[in-house]
């Protein structure tokens, strides 16, 4: 499958500008002042130390999920199952947070390990369905997303329900030793550990794909499965490795969501960061290099648009519209540039 596109700076910039114009037009349609809206967005995301901490805490799972998706995309896989992998990571981490007694130094690492295991195994299930069962990973992954969501709902209203009530609002709050630790800075609780995890994961994925034999082989499988096979690379095994790594990172994202953000298991624990991560990676051109700033921009828009809703009475879905419009326009812009270049090459090489 061809997922790679060439990077064209000028068309990309023009596309982003066009997307912004369309979004401003939408704001104008609803009668909202665009510049005030943009200002409120920035204020909502970075207006105070508390808000910055909150934004970074949302940024972490998005970067983790995106980094995982870069790995699965490198192997040519559309990991639509990423949402389910986040949920399974969160479920596994919640299990540890609920059941394992002891101090934070013991429980916190265990919740993260549990997240890795949960996400990774769930992803490998999609991988096995793909390699052994010939089930396309898009539909297999989609199905597993819903199954994972079903398991989360079942746990929240069933075995892990709060004493006396069976509502979908979540389990009991975990005891504090199981919370992902934060660092007190500038008078607020900064999620430094979470941010470190996300940055480490991004750098690791970047070097895994750039500088290692494993990464090279993974990309060979993704770009040309047939030639990779002829070179003696076991395609199926590498696809499974990609799912294992991608799922592990998504699983950590789930663990961070459960133990760092909600402090409990809720049915919507993934926060939609898996699907949003797909947008991030599409915009980043499938490379780990750009996911950190793009994800920061995306969470700024997401977090900021809630402030916009509070102050301007504008539905916070505007943030999602802006994100999707930008990705759509950049997609068309770069594809148009690629096509034109290809056409003109074909012309000039004609005798």
């Amino acid at each position: 499958m061809k997922t790679r596109t060439e990077f064209h700076p000028l068309p990309t910039i023009l596309s982003v500008l066009a997307a912004l114009v369309v979004s401003v037009f939408l704001l104008w349609l609803t009668g909202a002042p665009p510049f005030e809206a943009a200002g409120l967005m920035l204020e909502g995301a970075f207006g105070s130390a508390d808000k910055i901490a909150n934004t970074l805490l949302a940024w972490t799972p998005l970067v983790l999920a995106s980094a995982g998706l870069v790995v699965t995309f490198a192997a040519g896989m559309w990991n639509i199952g990423v949402e389910g992998q986040i949920v399974m990571g969160a479920i596994a981490a919640s299990f540890v947070a609920r059941e394992v007694p002891g101090e934070a130094w013991l429980v916190v690492p265990l919740t993260l390990v549990a997240g890795v295991v949960g996400g990774s195994l769930w992803a490998m299930l999609a991988g096995v369905l793909r390699t052994k069962g010939h089930v396309n990973e898009i539909f297999g992954g989609l199905g597993l997303d819903f199954v994972a969501a079903g398991v989360a709902v079942y746990l929240v209203i069933g075995p892990w329900s709060r004493e006396g009530t069976a509502s979908t609002s979540g389990t009991d709050i975990f005891r504090e030793e199981a919370w992902l630790p934060t660092t007190t800075m500038f008078g607020t609780e900064m999620p430094l550990l979470a941010v470190t995890l996300a940055l480490t994961a991004t750098v690791a994925v970047y070097y895994l794909l750039r500088g290692t034999r494993f990464g090279l082989r993974l990309k060979a499988v993704g770009q040309s499965p047939r030639s990779a096979f002829l070179m003696g690379i076991p395609n199926d095994r590498y696809i499974l490795y990609a799912f294992a790594v991608g799922g592990a990172l998504a699983g950590i994202a789930g663990a961070v969501q459960a133990t760092g953000y909600h402090h409990k298991l809720v049915p919507s624990v993934s926060g939609g960061y898996g699907f949003l991560g797909i947008l991030v990676v599409l915009l980043a051109g499938f490379s780990a290099k750009w996911i950190v700033p793009i994800a920061l921009f995306f969470v700024t828009v997401s977090v900021g648009s809630t402030t916009m809703e509070l102050r301007l009475g504008l539905d916070s879905a505007f943030g999602g519209v802006l994100q999707a419009v930008i990705v759509l326009f950049v997609m068309f812009g770069t594809a148009y540039a690629t096509e034109r270049r290809r056409r003109s090459k074909a012309w000039s090489s004609d005798p």
Partner: protein, 315 residues
């Protein structure tokens, strides 16, 4: 339990889902996956509701919703065919865009009371005991779903155009060599399919669950995608899948008091079923079963169009 009333409600509830799945079947059969279904359905439900609300007539809502579905399909067809953008990527981005747009633009209309499709029992036929109640005591949406299934079946298996659709979805190179304009036809069928999805959206907001709210068609687009696979791209089997899902919904509703939680878990059933159906295609024992009874094979196997999701290039 009154069986004729229960079956009547299943047939009515499944009608929009049938329109959506048939639309997707037409599109996928020609080789183009419209992954935006979940979003298309939601945005067209919203636009359909609002258009009918403003115009004061349900028909306007259906027309507007159809345009929305067709427009999204046009973006996918154009990007995929002219600019060679990956279908999945396009469909996915449009899914998110349509979902967010529906929430954003539809926000002021949540809770409004809008238009409704009037009931239209067919005189004579609806008097037939049992069957009349189940099949002919409905409205135009439901009769439209019957028509969509029959017309698509006829198109696929009884006409020359149907053969061509198989050709461009299975072996576009071969079809092209025989002088068939592969990409132009894919464009047309994708847009027709999208228009049907749009109709389905309006059917939700103007018929099945009146009004507009974000959760109106929640997950039904994904379920429709699963049912198309489960139904092996065959209009009649796809429709049966929709009725089966309708029955599951009714069962979940009935069992709610006995087993709390079942209402949340049962609607997930189509997804494991879809995976199972896909796994079974290649399972050895199942293939042998199909070899022994060729007739059963046609009804049990799930066979995707050979060139689904691919880009056809002339060069």
């Amino acid at each position: 339990m009154d069986w004729s009333a229960t079956l009547n409600s299943i047939v009515a509830a499944a009608a929009p889902l049938i329109l959506a799945t048939i639309g997707e079947t037409i599109s996928e059969k020609s080789g183009v996956i419209n992954l935006s279904l979940e979003g298309s359905l939601r945005l067209s439900a919203m636009v359909g509701f609002v258009a009918a609300f403003w115009a004061g007539h349900a028909l306007v809502g259906f027309a507007a919703a159809m345009l929305v579905g067709a427009l999204i399909a046009t973006i996918i067809a154009f990007g995929n065919i002219k600019l060679k953008i990956n279908q999945i990527a396009l469909g996915f981005v449009l899914y998110l865009l349509a979902v967010e747009l529906a929430s954003f633009l539809g926000d002021p209309f949540v809770g409004e009371r809008g238009e409704q499709v009037p009931p239209l029992p067919i005189p004579g036929l609806s008097e037939i005991p049992f069957i009349g109640k189940v099949l002919f005591d409905h409205n135009l949406v439901v009769y439209g779903s019957f028509l969509a299934v029959f017309a698509t079946w006829y198109l696929f298996y009884r006409t020359r155009a149907g053969l061509t659709i198989h050709g461009i979805g299975e072996r576009p190179e071969g079809a092209f060599a025989r002088g068939i304009p592969v990409n132009r036809l894919r464009f047309v069928y994708t847009v027709i399919g999208g228009a049907l999805v749009g109709l389905a959206g309006a059917a939700y907001s103007l018929d099945v669950k009146l009004g507009w709210r974000e959760t109106l068609t929640l997950n039904l687009g994904w379920i429709a995608l699963a049912i198309v696979i489960f139904g092996s791209w065959h209009p009649v089997r796809v429709a049966l899948g929709c009725y089966l899902f309708g029955a599951l919904q009714v069962a979940a509703f009935q069992l709610q008091d006995v087993f709390p939680g079942v209402a949340q878990v049962l609607p997930i059933a189509p997804f494991p079923l879809m995976i199972l159906a896909l796994v079974m295609i290649y399972a050895g024992w199942f293939v042998r079963l199909g070899d022994r009874w060729p007739r059963a094979r046609g009804w049990l196997l799930v066979e995707p169009p050979g060139a689904i999701g691919t880009i056809f290039e002339r060069e």
